[in-house]
């Protein structure tokens, strides 16, 4: 038996982890390419272990391969060692399944999960031999389509894509493929096809739109070039999550990937409207899957993968209506099957402490809280409906259950932040430590003492959040604030048990620029790529200086995107997208943030965000 590999043996034997590139994993889909009308390549522009852990891709892979006329294959970024070899030896980028060049495909779909993957997109196109700029492509090249959270502001990478799919992938791909097939059969040009595609709901063809700028480079207008192309693009979403695609036989990698487990997506969206959080807005409204659906999938998935762990996935699992029933079922079923249960994003309360005691090794595991801000004042500003009392009560419950390790996540640089808010981080950590000593008598302290880890990241304003108007902190501000946090922690009585870690500031700056960027940034990204930037999301490969040079060469000022106060009525580069939540609602939230007024979550009271027009989920059945 000979299985073909795109990489010759001597290459596979000379690189790290050749398993990344060979395919043939359990449940990978192989089809006869001669009986297929459309070949779709689904790319996660990062290394295999990261990309293979992504549920969204698994869902779309399954959906495409259920289409009889379509074969969907996977593509990942070659790791830096292989990247070098491929360039030296002119080996074109290949798909995992057929091991054939990406260029042979009809579509190259690229998922955009974080801004820092943008240079990897260029790496994928470049290694595939596909022109980097959309307008330079011909029918010899696949149609390059982007999707995922970053496509909610696709403008910085607009030049590189033929098409963006705005919203959830399950709804419109069939239509797109049919238009493609008809277009090819009729012998139409690539431009003709793209023009037709632009009329399908959710599709955005960047080259059919033109931005017009004011003198200060803010947007003056953003209009389609043709009358028959929509001016606003409404996001796509699945209205009934029990009646849609969900893979029952996901690919099981040979190598240990980040998510080496069954992942059960219990719902989409989040009832909470934390004002910094993009996911909380763009996935509205909350839609749940039924317990029956989930029980059935859990059993099939465990059976078909052989995984020894199952994890629930959602933005805020405690808010799932039937969480107790589901978790109890899983505990019963999984204990029999010797399957571990992972329960991330559960709020710490009596129920979660009870179940966690059953599914975790209490002594080894740590509890996680994400208060995001140290003071109540700041938690009100960001609309994090979590009080100090909630946190302390949760921690005490956990301490009584035997936990001694607590992790806390905070953000620095939030809008309207004062020094007292930063001090609040230290004080909160100290109060938790004090609560431990108060609640647990000396003889019962399992590991002797409590361990608190406070970690801060830097706030980055994101499109489609109430904070999209906010000014971002400079790297100097960030470093100063991290220093202040450290200083205040040292001042605390219990400082010895508090460990403090913070994230780098340079990377945050670039993320801040790309997140709220416009089309002028495509040139900068291209220039950074040409200077050798790839894998920017990996701090060991991030080349800050190369990025700064690229901004200079392209005569684009990064400060414009970060440090500028945006006016209430400014036209944003992403405003042509309608994510369901209205700009009026976001602005209202921005104003309420300034005044520190909290807004109710969707379950308590609808705040009329605009998503009710989708006529599904919590907007119609939630309260």
């Amino acid at each position: 038996m000979m299985q073909y590999t795109a990489l010759p043996e001597e290459v596979l034997m000379s690189i790290e982890k050749p398993e990344r590139y060979i395919g043939h994993e359990i449940n990978a889909v192989y089809k006869d390419k001669n009986k297929i009308a459309v070949r779709f390549g689904m790319c996660f522009p990062d290394v295999y272990e990261i990309g293979m852990s992504h549920l969204g891709i698994a869902i779309l892979y399954d959906m495409f391969n259920k289409f009889e006329d379509t074969w969907c294959e996977r593509i990942y970024s070659p790791w830096v060692d292989l990247d070098k070899v491929m360039r030296e030896r002119n080996i074109p980028l290949f798909t995992i399944e057929s091991q054939e060049p990406v260029k042979n495909l009809d579509f190259l779909g690229i998922t955009l999960q974080y801004e820092m993957c943008y240079t990897n997109i260029l790496q994928v196109l470049d290694l595939s031999g596909i022109p980097l700029i959309s307008t330079e492509r011909t029918w010899d090249d696949p149609i390059v389509i982007g999707g995922g959270p970053c496509s909610y502001n696709p403008e910085p990478i607009a030049d590189f894509f033929d098409l963006f799919y705005i919203g959830e992938g399950e709804t419109r791909y069939r239509e797109l493929l049919d238009v493609y097939k008809a277009s090819r059969a009729a012998g139409e040009s690539r431009d003709e096809f793209l023009h037709k595609a632009a009329k399908i709901p959710g599709m955005y063809v960047p080259r059919l739109y033109e931005p017009e700028y004011n003198e200060d480079f803010t947007l003056k207008a953003f209009k389609p070039l043709y009358d028959d192309i929509p001016t606003k693009i409404l996001k796509e979403l699945v209205t009934d999550l029990d009646d849609t695609y969900y893979p029952e036989k996901p690919v099981v990698p040979f190598m240990k990937v980040t998510q080496d487990r069954v992942v059960l997506e219990i719902m989409r969206g989040c009832i909470r409207g934390c004002r910094f959080c993009q996911a909380g807005q763009i996935y509205r409204p909350v839609r749940e899957r039924s317990v029956e659906f989930l029980k059935d999938k859990a059993e099939k998935l465990l059976k078909n993968t052989g995984h020894e762990e199952i994890s629930l996935s959602s933005l805020s699992s405690s808010d799932y209506t039937h969480i107790e029933e589901l978790v109890r079922f899983l505990i019963d079923d999984c204990t029999k099957k010797k399957v571990n249960i992972a329960l991330p994003s559960l709020r710490i309360d009596q129920f979660s402490v009870d179940v966690m005691e059953k599914v975790q090794d209490v002594k080894k595991s740590s509890l996680t809280f994400a208060p995001e801000a140290g003071s109540q004042r700041m938690r009100n500003i960001i609309n994090k409906g979590l009080t100090e009392e909630d946190i302390i009560n949760g921690a005490v419950l956990a301490f009584k259950g035997g936990w001694t390790k607590v992790k806390l996540y905070f953000m620095l640089g939030l809008p309207f932040e004062k020094e007292e808010d930063i001090e609040g981080i230290a004080k909160l950590c100290n109060s938790i430590a004090a609560a431990f000593y108060e609640a647990i008598p000396k003889e019962k302290r399992v590991n002797g003492r409590v361990n608190i880890t406070a970690s801060t990241s830097f706030f980055i304003p994101k499109p489609f959040t109430p904070f999209q108007w906010a000014v971002m902190d400079t790297p100097d501000d960030f470093i100063r604030k991290a220093g202040l946090t450290k200083h205040y922690i040292h001042e605390q009585l219990n400082q010895k048990v508090i460990r403090y870690i913070w994230h780098e500031a340079d990377v945050s700056m670039l993320e801040g620029v790309l997140a709220r960027g416009d089309r002028r940034l495509s040139r900068v990204i291209l220039s950074a790529y040409k200077k050798g930037c790839i894998y920017d999301a990996w701090s060991e490969f991030y080349k800050h200086d190369a990025w700064l040079e690229s901004f200079k060469e392209c005569d684009v000022d990064p400060d414009f995107y970060m440090y500028r106060e945006r006016k209430d009525d400014e036209l944003f580069p992403w405003d042509f997208i309608d994510c369901g939540v209205s700009k009026a609602h976001l602005l209202r939230e921005w104003k309420r943030a300034k005044e520190g007024i909290v807004t109710d979550n969707c379950r308590t009271r609808c705040s009329g965000c605009g998503s009710a027009r989708f006529d599904c989920g919590i907007c119609i059945n939630g309260r």
């Binding site: 050749p18 043939h24 020894e308």
Partner: protein, 227 residues
Amino acid sequence: MKVRFKFSKHGVLKYIGHLDLMRYFQKAFRRTDIEVLYSKGFSPHMIMSFAQPLGVGVESDGEYFDVEVADEEDISTMVAKLNEQMAEGVVILDVVKLPEKFTNAMASVAAADYELNFYKESPLSTALLDKYKAADAVTFVKTTKTGEHIINVKEFVFDIALKDDATLFVTVDASSAGNLKPANLLEALLKLEDKSVADYPFHILRKDTYMRDASGNLVPLNKVDYE
């Protein structure tokens, strides 16, 4: 009940390392209805023992592992059940029941034989083999945590023969104490003619893995003597 499986590993699966192969088999068992026994404790794991791990890039016709299954399992259907769950490239060839207290696969291994095949230019010749046989010591340097050691491969080679101009057949020590990697043997051999293995790409196929029977003879790991 302890059972010993024999399997082969070919094609692209040769790039799967030993740890991942173990995980692969654990998941494969969980996809069947064969009831495998687990260790006790907070995170129970399957009780498995693999014979000598295969290097990345090496194919094999004779790999083994032991696993403990529920007593009521039917051994006659196990090979078929597990084969249904295999990726293309791994084939389950046999399963045998092990007597009580039988030494586990890992500890049983005494030797393995390999076919080494040069698929471009071959440095092999009868003259080279004669040199090998005439020499007192044929060595390579092994670097370990404790430093560099000079290893005389002749102490670990049980049999060596040319199959044709490009193919060498060897039987070597594969016990956990004295395992000789075929690539190291080649390195030592080619050094006799001042050649470097790096210049001669080759394939390695492990033909089978052996234990010693009661009279000290090498027998394949699945030829269990029930006497």
